[in-house]
């Protein structure tokens, strides 16, 4: 469609169809105040402070909600408009406590700004005001209903974005207020405590409880970084005063989340400033940990590791890298294990979650990661979710899926034995018996085959051995699948119809299907389903595993795996071997190392004698903790590098205090393989150090010198040896990730 002409206060410009007057005004730098507008929400037009005059219109129009029409002439600066805006603000402050001196929102308040602009320090309208609500026992969220201006942003974001529906308007007339079911605590509602309502509130009506009395927003230093929780990789703005995190926000125009956060990202930062943090190295003496200096601890590790190495060989040592640490640290850790220690016994928790994904998708597509980006869900016409409780485990991706369903009319198929939030919005929910995933997917493919809904052209041009698949599928009639899985043939048929015929179908899966003995088969079946219907390689389609930890993708990419170096360059391959020996200046072991599970098995049998665990907690995350305990106890020497005294750390001989995400620089790679910067917001706590610095020091002490001045320097080395990361420099990814 052609561009539209619009004139705003004499400024002429063209905008694309669908733009609002507010968008156009922004483009020419004309400020129009807003209170009920949030770019994350649908136009609402209720506060009336964005009213502008439009030539030919009967009445002033709300700029936030009025779409530009061709030839529109808009005035934003007339006497009438200022009068109307001033009246609205004066009405608002007539029912608003002017307690700016003690209000948390002071300095960051839409109403305060407007009152300032119009010189209103009191209202001529005297009368009833909304009373202060009794402060209830809502966790995380303080609701000050006396300050509420009823712009509805909280109600709408809870509905439109979060699909939580915890709050709504109640009563009528002056009595209207934002309330919960039966006026109870948010605890008794469907509230997820994501705090999205707070993030949208333009005044001090909703405040994050943890930030109370810790400082106003304008007093804080703001640092953009990446959330340390799940693989979504949301952009956070850490607001700090001194070395304390005061609050967490998210910029509206940045990252995969564009202002949205979940309860973890928004409120889960307390651990950073926790007193329980490890602040100094600890050495176990006579069964008790005693504080030590860094040089004591590091020289002890070097001595012990070198001792084990010379007595039993390098393969008697092993290391667990971390999906919570940065790419730089993961790169350095595997380099340390391979170059300084001389073993490929390096692995991390990806082994336990998405190893089957990596294996399955690598076999099917050549690469084991999401085929499409998170933003692509918006373009899907159908989304099939299997083995993923997305709204809980990856809440912001959950939002993307639900918005595609609720706003764009995408069909949703959920295959999950449990009734999860997504099932409420699903067109079809198939509660299969646990373990029958392959049967269900085969059943769907059987129907697609019988009905001829497959994409013959795609199959011929892009796939191999379709006939083999056909043979297998023949046996999986809907009736047989129903018998195996408990899913009705009708549901299978409907799901097959929707998935095969939507035009653009996307598959989302996660650990609900990968953490099985048949995990790889589950993943391969999904890949087959996508390929036979041609739902790969286009917008809105694909096979999309949601990775668990914040940097599990990066830890894999960086080669914290026993069989590959960074960039999945195969251990043992002559070229690879030569390349890394040249780069690292040392002879490298040629045989693939042990996996996480194998390392612990070996340790239990006395094979592996020394273990270096960086930022992992196998006592909690590995199967059979009894077995893990036995293995750890059997070790001659255990080093744990972490931020807390974990269940694993108690078994350590030496504990090294590392840093949290808030205290260091580096990069994380999210589930869609977007490489994003994390930035130091506060100084390290106590004597704790960056993990990469610790690794460098240990390597150097062991006789393999590593000297880096910054994470950037490590990234530069990663660029030089990792083809898939060759161009990813901090400068290039500073703004929105790569």
């Amino acid at each position: 469609m052609s561009q539209l002409n619009i004139t705003i206060n004499e400024n002429k410009l063209t905008v694309s169809p669908g733009s609002t007057i507010l968008d156009a005004a922004k483009a020419v730098g004309v400020h129009i105040p807003t209170l009920c507008h949030d770019p994350r929400l649908k136009p609402y037009g209720a506060c009336r402070v964005c009213l502008v005059e439009v030539e030919g219109a009967r009445a002033p129009m709300p700029a936030c909600a009025t779409k530009v029409t061709d030839g529109m002439v808009v005035s934003t600066d007339t006497e009438k408009i200022h009068r109307l805006r001033k009246t609205v603000v004066e009405l608002l402050i007539s029912d608003h406590p002017l307690e700016c001196v003690t209000c948390e929102q002071c300095g960051d308040c839409g109403l305060q700004d407007l009152a300032y602009r119009y010189g209103l320090n009191k209202s001529r309208y005297i009368g009833e005001r909304h009373p202060l609500r009794e402060q209830g026992d809502d966790p995380f969220i303080q609701r000050n209903l006396d300050k509420c201006i009823l712009c509805g942003r909280c109600v709408r974001i809870c509905d439109e974005v979060e699909s939580a529906f915890a709050i709504d308007f109640t009563y009528r007339g002056f009595q209207v207020q934002v309330g919960t079911d039966y006026g109870t605590s948010l605890k008794n509602t469907s509230c997820e405590f994501c705090g999205q309502c707070i993030s949208s509130c333009p005044v001090g009506a909703l405040i994050e409880k943890p930030r109370l009395n810790k400082g106003r927003t304008w007093e804080t230093k703001k640092t953009l970084t990446i959330c340390p929780y799940c693989g979504t990789g949301c952009t956070l703005e850490l607001q700090t005063i001194g070395d304390k995190i005061v609050n967490v926000a998210a910029p509206l125009d940045k990252g995969v989340n564009r202002g949205n956060l979940c309860v973890k990202g928004r409120f889960g930062y307390q651990f950073v400033n926790s007193n329980d943090r490890l602040k100094t190295p600890l050495i176990k003496k006579n069964g008790k940990f005693v504080e030590a200096t860094w040089s004591e601890a590091i020289s002890l590790i070097a001595k012990k590791f070198n001792g084990i190495k010379s007595a039993h060989g390098a393969d008697a040592l092993a290391g667990f890298s971390s999906a919570k640490c940065t790419n730089e640290e993961n790169y350095l850790f595997q380099k340390f294990m391979r170059a300084a220690v001389g073993t490929n016994n390096v692995d991390h928790c990806a082994r336990l979650c998405h190893a089957s994904t990596v294996a399955g998708l690598a076999r099917a597509f050549g690469s084991g990661a999401m085929t499409n980006s998170i933003d692509d869900f918006a373009k899907a016409k159908a989304i099939l979710v299997i083995g993923s409780n997305t709204t809980e485990a990856h809440p912001i991706i959950g939002i993307n899926i639900l918005q595609a369903v609720r706003n764009n009319g995408a069909k949703l198929i959920v295959i999950d034995p449990r009734k999860i939030k997504l099932t409420q919005f699903a067109d079809i929910w198939m509660a299969q018996r646990p373990g029958s995933d392959v049967a269900v997917i085969n059943g769907i493919m059987n129907i697609i085959l019988k009905e001829g809904w497959y994409d013959q052209k795609f199959i011929e041009e892009r796939t191999e051995d379709f006939d083999e698949l056909k043979k297998i599928l023949d046996a999986y009639t809907p009736e047989k699948v129903a018998e195996i899985s408990g899913v009705s043939p009708e549901d299978l048929r409907r799901a097959a119809d929707i998935y095969a015929n939507s035009g653009a179908s996307s598959i989302v899966f996660s650990m609900g299907i990968t953490q099985h003995s048949t995990g790889t088969d589950n993943v391969l079946s999904l890949a087959n389903l996508a390929m036979m219907t041609g739902n790969v390689g286009r917008e809105g389609t694909g096979v999309n595993p949601l990775r668990g930890q914040n940097n599990v993708q990066g830890a894999c990419d960086m080669g914290s795996l026993p069989n590959v170096c960074c960039g999945y360059q195969k251990v043992g391959d002559d070229g690879v071997q030569a390349k890394f020996q040249a780069a690292w200046g040392v002879e490298l072991p040629k045989t693939p190392g042990l996996t996480v599970v194998e390392i612990l098995n070996s340790a239990a049998k006395g094979g592996v004698k020394g273990l270096y665990v960086m930022g992992e907690n196998p006592m909690l995350s590995d199967p059979d903790s009894q077995h893990v305990e036995e293995a750890l106890e059997k070790l001659e020497f255990l080093v744990v590098q972490d931020i807390f005294m974990t269940e694993t750390a108690v078994f350590a001989d030496v504990i090294l205090p590392g840093l949290t995400f808030a205290e260091r620089d580096g990069t994380f790679t999210n589930t869609e393989r977007r490489v994003q910067r994390i930035r130091r917001a506060i100084n390290p706590m106590g004597n704790a150090r960056e993990d990469w610095r610790i690794i460098s020091d240990v390597a150097t002490a062991m006789g393999y010198p590593m000297h880096y001045e910054s994470a950037d320097e490590i990234l530069a080395e990663i660029n030089s040896v990792t083809p898939s990361y060759a161009c990813i420099t901090t400068a290039r990814i500073s703004d929105s990730g790569f």
Binding site: P43, Y44, G45, A46, C47, R48, V49, L51, A59, P60, P62, A65, K67, K80, R83, L84, T87, V88, L91, L92, S94, D95, R124, Y125, I126, G127, E128, I149, L150, G152, D168, F169, Y171, R172, G173, F174, Q175, V176
Partner: protein
């Protein structure tokens, strides 16, 4: 014996009782039962029938007796009158002349009331049994849908309605045919027709009356609209406070389904249409079309911005045509009589008839259907019979709670959309409240503002807080504690709220204030400057005083005072404590000797800004006594 028999076996005689809500409220149910009893007792076999409302609300309970096509109407009938009517009129053939209110060729107020009306919407009201589809069919019901299905394409139907010039009767007056055309042309696989039966204006009840008296007119209008815009589903959004209307609609829908007039392949044509009733919970704002649709969808009834207009994206985001009850009730007449016939009625830009609900201080209150372009004077004085009890006309409030008040100077205003809008009032849905000199215009504005405020959905700031602050200023004015500046503030706020509100509710809510300030400014000033309520209405500015010279000390007033504000006892001196008095005037109405009166201004003991005085019985008694002495003027 023979003579009696000939009189009682007149099967050509019908006895029809008006059983609309108004009739039922006046006791029509009991009258119906009493008539049935008496007829049985006397062996009368005339047909006893129910009907809806004929419009003469002030004469309820109404019964019509039609013998051989000659109609005689009785008004204000009570069960006690049943015996005589049955015996004298039905058995003996002598109508009870003294109770007759309407008879052909007899000059009466009721004749005048009905004579000047042109009935299209109400044409079957009060004539048919609304619970029997056969009666509606006998009077031409469903002929129009038959006609369009066999003779007209949907486009032709749209063209006919457009040509008729019919404009929406819900208030805004949008051209109905255009709305149909837009919906017809809108893209969408599913379209809806909604009948807006969320009549909520105080004093307006024409929609209820139509639904109760001739539901089939509305159902048929919806069918035709559905055919014209290619919708197969209709919704009637009717407030739950209209149980009788809902009951009769349900009966009507069931009967229409049974006769194949609703459902699949209607009348054998390739046209499917069905109707669902959605009951509203009574929020006034749900009469606004976008709020109404939200309510049908199960959401909180709050208006949203337009565009998109419902004709493009309405119910469940499908193209939706929303018409009001009265609008739809016109449709079948237009189809059967032709667009030209309809367009010949009314004015250039306001075609056809409009039903008005006359209420307030008017001699003949009720529903009247008149051609557009008639003057207010004709409606109020010719049809309505002027002011009740010989009072003086002060103003007419038109257009519901968000309409305006017009004084005597405007009595010759033509009643059509454009002329009314020019005055600052609106057509609204057709409520007309007649006010006499006993109405305080400030108090009236306060009443309507209180209504608008409590019905505001709260979405936009000007309406939610603006109406509240306007109401509070009005409260202060009626308490005598407002300053002159506050009147200016009120007026400017009213203008701003009108200009900046989101939906029609807020945009029109200030109208009662703006029109009363415009036309009755002096009355505001009296409250503000003189602390006087000229109409002697505002409780804080009046004293209810007992004239001790005339008082017979019967103590009836003491017994009836709901707040025990009157001290004294039988055979004692009685005084009213002005602080306790709530101004309800119960004492005045019960005093057998007419000794109690209302006075304003109140004798202010303390400065106006601290108007409320501390209770001091002795002082109060003294002041009242003094005043009473003064009023005696030296003794009589």
């Amino acid at each position: 014996m023979n003579k009696k028999k000939t009189n009682t076996t007149n099967t050509n005689t019908e006895v029809i009782v008006g059983l609309g809500s108004c009739g039922l409220a006046a006791g029509a149910g009991d009258v119906f039962d009493a008539l049935a009893d008496e007829m049985k007792k006397n062996g009368v076999d005339a047909r006893l029938k129910k009907t809806g409302c004929i419009g003469l609300c002030y004469k309820e309970v109404l019964i019509d007796i039609i013998s051989d096509g000659v109609k005689v109407s009785y008004g204000n009938v009570t069960p006690a009158m049943a015996a005589r009517i049955v015996k004298e009129h039905l058995v003996e053939g002598r109508p009870v002349d003294e109770w007759i209110i309407f008879k052909k060729d007899v000059v009466s107020g009721e004749n005048t009331f009905l004579k000047d009306q042109k009935r299209i919407v109400l044409r079957k009201c009060g004539l048919i049994d609304p619970e029997d589809i056969e009666e509606a069919i006998a009077k031409g019901g469903y002929e129009a849908i038959k006609k369009v299905l066999s003779e007209n394409s949907p486009d032709e139907v749209v063209a006919i309605v457009k040509e008729s010039g019919l404009r929406g009767r819900g208030g805004a007056g949008f051209t109905t045919g255009l709305k149909w055309e837009f919906t017809r042309k809108a893209e969408g696989d599913q379209k809806y027709i909604i009948c807006n039966a969320d009549e909520g204006d105080p004093g307006a009840y024409m929609d209820r009356s139509v639904l109760e008296s001739d539901p089939h007119a509305v159902l048929e209008g919806m069918l035709i609209a559905g055919y014209a815009i290619s919708a197969d589903q209709g919704y009637i959004y009717c407030r739950a406070e209209y149980p009788l209307a809902i009951k009769r609609l349900n009966i009507g829908i069931e009967q229409a389904r049974a006769k194949g007039l609703l459902g699949k392949n209607i009348l054998g044509h390739d046209f499917n249409f069905d109707i669902t009733i959605k009951q509203g919970a009574g929020a006034f704002v749900c009469g606004e079309e976008t709020a109404l649709m939200a309510s049908i969808e199960g959401k909180r009834g709050m208006p949203r911005l337009k565009p998109p207009f419902p004709v493009i994206s309405g119910l469940w985001e499908k193209p939706t045509c929303i018409n009001n009850v009265e609008t739809l009730a016109n449709i079948s007449w237009i189809i059967l009589n032709g667009a030209a016939e309809y367009a010949a009625i009314g004015t250039e830009r306001s075609k056809g008839n409009k039903v008005f609900a006359l209420t307030g201080k008017i001699e003949r209150s009720g529903l009247v259907e008149v051609p557009m372009g008639i003057t207010l004077r004709e409606i109020i004085f010719d049809i309505g019979g002027g002011i009740k009890d010989g009072g003086t006309f002060k103003a007419v409030q038109i257009g519901g709670p968000t309409g305006g008040c017009l004084p005597e100077d405007f009595l010759d205003t033509y009643v059509d959309y454009d002329s009314l809008t020019k005055t600052g009032a609106t057509m609204g849905s057709g409520g007309m409240v007649i006010l006499d000199e006993s109405t305080c215009m400030v108090d009236l504005a306060k009443f309507f503002m209180s209504f608008a405020q409590s019905e505001s959905c709260g979405k936009c700031v000007p309406c939610r807080l603006g109406t509240k602050r306007m109401l509070e200023i009005l409260e202060r004015i009626t308490q005598g504690i407002a300053s002159a500046e506050e009147l200016d503030l009120l007026e400017s706020l009213a203008v701003d709220v009108k200009m900046s509100s989101l939906c029609g509710l807020g945009q029109t809510a200030p109208n009662p204030i703006l029109t009363t300030i415009k036309y009755f400014r002096d009355e505001y000033l009296s409250h503000i400057h003189d602390k006087t309520c000229p109409a002697k209405v505002c409780v804080d500015l009046i004293d209810v005083v007992i004239n001790q010279d005339l008082c017979r000390q019967c103590a009836v007033c003491i017994k009836h005072c709901p707040v025990q504000a009157i001290s004294g006892a039988r055979h004692e001196y009685t005084v009213i404590d002005p602080d306790a008095c709530i101004g309800c005037r119960m004492c005045i109405s019960v005093c057998p000797w007419n000794t109690i009166d209302v006075d304003s201004p109140k004798q202010l003991i303390v400065p106006a800004e601290k108007y409320r005085r501390p209770v001091n019985k002795e002082n109060v008694a003294e002041s009242v006594r003094c005043k009473a002495d003064e009023s005696r003027g030296g003794g009589a």
